[in-house]
């Protein structure tokens, strides 16, 4: 109790955490519950590193994509290290973008096109593409586009897409990179992850171990409340949230642009996971996880169960 180590990754997705941090919300909610909480922020990059940090007990709250989360949930289920979702970072779409004018649908790709995703084959983005492939080409064809996939981090892929002149013609992107890329007239959208998952989806979640919640109920509650408050605040104050993001991140990006990203009508701010069960089903079907959850509630903490997630 009283100490909270939070791992945060890079990007506008995590704006609620920026707000949380800047406004001292955890400390505030801690005080309301009668404890002083010392918060430590740790920057990590990549779901693998975040999972390792959580498993080794180096952090208490992890934040990563739904893919890495489901992986660790699958592996720790029923053990002392079992993890569950505390809350999601809102629903945000991932776009498949291309600068190849001939590509209108996913069926138009040829061998000349290379599709960049982070961690080809295993990242959230790669899974989305595989789901799209399954839907387009029929069951069993989930990996049909895998040969076109190449591993490239978002910034490099975005730069390649905008700049042109490389083999990378397509990118399954992420905010704010997709917002940046779409500003370029040469780049257009092929599909959104919302199309694939059949509605809004939360690609990123915050999670912790069941054990931590049991052993630190007050700290956990303070975080949960603060996270909820921050998410709500972001939803209501996008412009100020953008400024906070720029300040905390010491970003060189224009706050107006961040505000634009945050105000995207497709983005909704909610702690409740959306589209996750579909994702989990898919991962189970292709063998990436062994457990098949029957409901999204199986891998989230009770606090969220009253809401209608998916």
């Amino acid at each position: 109790e009283g100490v909270l180590r939070i791992a945060q990754q890079f990007g506008t997705l995590y704006t609620p955490f920026h707000v949380l941090r800047e406004k001292g919300l955890i400390e505030k909610h801690g005080k309301e519950l009668g404890i002083d909480i010392k918060v430590e922020w740790i920057r990590l990059s990549g779901g693998g590193a975040v999972n390792d940090a959580l498993l080794s007990g180096s952090i208490d709250i992890a934040s990563a994509g739904i893919g890495p989360f489901l992986t660790i949930w699958d592996k720790t289920r029923g053990t002392a290290q079992e993890v569950k979702i505390v809350g999601a970072f809102g629903a945000q779409p991932n776009f498949l973008l291309t600068n190849n004018p001939n590509v209108k649908t996913i069926k138009d790709f040829t061998d000349k096109d290379k599709i960049a995703t982070p961690a080809a084959g295993v990242s959230v983005q790669a899974r989305i593409l595989q789901m799209a492939a399954e839907q387009a080409f029929g069951p069993g064809n989930a990996k049909k586009l895998d040969p076109l996939m190449v591993t490239l981090p978002h910034p490099d892929a975005t730069a390649a897409l905008i700049a042109g002149g490389t083999e990378i013609t397509t990118h399954l992107s992420n905010p704010p990179f997709q917002n940046q890329a779409l500003k370029d007239p040469k780049v257009h959208k092929v599909f959104s992850s919302y199309d694939v998952l059949g509605g809004p989806a939360t690609p990123t979640v915050a999670y912790t171990t069941v054990k931590f919640r049991q052993e630190n109920p007050k700290t956990y509650k303070a975080f949960q409340d603060a996270f909820a408050e921050a998410t709500k605040w972001v939803d209501e104050n996008k412009k100020e949230a953008a400024e906070i993001y720029v300040k905390v991140e010491q970003s060189k990006l224009d706050p107006a642009f961040i505000a634009e990203v945050l105000s995207d009508p497709e983005v909704t701010y909610t702690l409740v996971p959306l589209g996750t069960i579909k994702f989990a089903d898919f991962m189970n079907r292709i063998g990436a996880i062994k457990n098949k959850p029957t409901s999204w509630k199986e891998f989230t903490f009770e606090e969220l169960h009253s809401a209608s997630g998916s």
Partner: protein, 296 residues
């Protein structure tokens, strides 16, 4: 080890430590052995000593892992071995390892050849040496990540870029080791070569390379290790279309799926290949620099 039992100080030390013992036996087993003597005799074989070291490390690993009891982060030795066995039998690991090795050897040979050319030029022309040293000082500390955009622009994705990154990893350190080696060649041997009219390439090949062989071999070993490190890291970040993954990809994929025992199986494969290469280097050293008395 030197093949001279009477190699000066080394022997003197040994004599200090156990002046009553006889010289360590090498090939012929004593006709009749006490159990202790038999152990001593076995101990005389490098293979045996190696095996003991490896077994001790494995035991240490097992104990640490069991004690830590966190299989998702640190699987036991036995778990890793069974994962290795299953990965091998599933035909997953071997092609990955071979794919990596193929790229590795290509990049390594390319970089070493390039380094030798550059260093030879640097030896012949003082100004080029300055250029080489400047380039090395500049580029050697740069992480591969720095080359990514340029490699992509100019070489596209795929093997060419991977090779560029590997050459970058290997070229500079090996060039440094080779240059130092060449510059350490004793003056007299240099003069002998010149005296017989050797110049340019034949001077490098017939005098500098054999005379600097200890430094070159040490540079090759270091370079080999860095080729591996870079390849595995680069396969993750860069240039792998998901079809033809190498060992790095194997490790990364399994790490992403938290199949830690398989991750360690991949790492053990790297270690085993490293040991095999070390045996090779050792054999070369035994036949060259140690035989020639250039290195003890």
């Amino acid at each position: 080890m030197s093949d001279t039992t009477v190699s000066g100080s080394g022997l003197a030390d040994a004599a200090h430590a156990r002046s009553t013992e006889t010289v360590r036996p090498r090939t012929e087993a004593p006709a009749r052995l006490s159990p202790r003597a038999a152990l001593g005799w076995l101990w005389g074989f490098t293979v045996v000593r190696r095996a003991v070291v490896l077994a001790a490390l494995a035991a240490l690993w097992q104990v640490a892992a069991v004690w830590q009891s966190n299989p998702l982060l640190f699987p036991t030795f036995t778990d890793t071995m069974s994962a290795l066995a299953s990965a091998l039998s599933e035909g997953d690991l071997l092609p990955a390892a071979l794919a990596s090795l193929a790229v590795l050897v290509k990049g390594y040979v390319l970089a070493v050849a390039l380094a030798l050319v550059l260093v030879s030029a640097a030896i012949a022309v003082p100004f080029l040496k300055e250029v080489l040293l400047t380039l090395t000082a500049m580029f050697n500390p740069l992480p591969a990540i720095a080359l990514l955009p340029l490699a992509m622009l100019w070489l596209g994705l795929g093997e060419a870029s991977l090779l560029l990154v590997m050459v970058h990893a290997v070229l500079w350190p090996f060039a440094l080791a080779a240059l130092t080696g060449f510059e350490q060649v004793p003056e007299t041997q240099r003069l002998v070569g010149r005296n017989y009219g050797l110049k340019g390439l034949s001077y490098v090949a017939l005098i500098l390379i054999p005379a600097a062989l200890p430094s070159l071999l040490s540079g090759l070993k270091i370079a080999w290790a860095f080729a591996w490190r870079t390849l595995i890291a680069a396969e993750l970040v860069f240039g792998v279309s998901s079809r033809a993954g190498g060992l790095g990809w194997f490790i990364y994929r399994n790490r992403n799926e938290l199949l830690t025992d398989r991750v360690f199986a991949g790492l053990v494969t790297v270690i085993l290949i490293g040991l095999a290469v070390e045996v090779l280097f050792r054999a070369v050293e035994q036949r060259t620099v140690r035989r020639w008395g250039l290195q003890r």
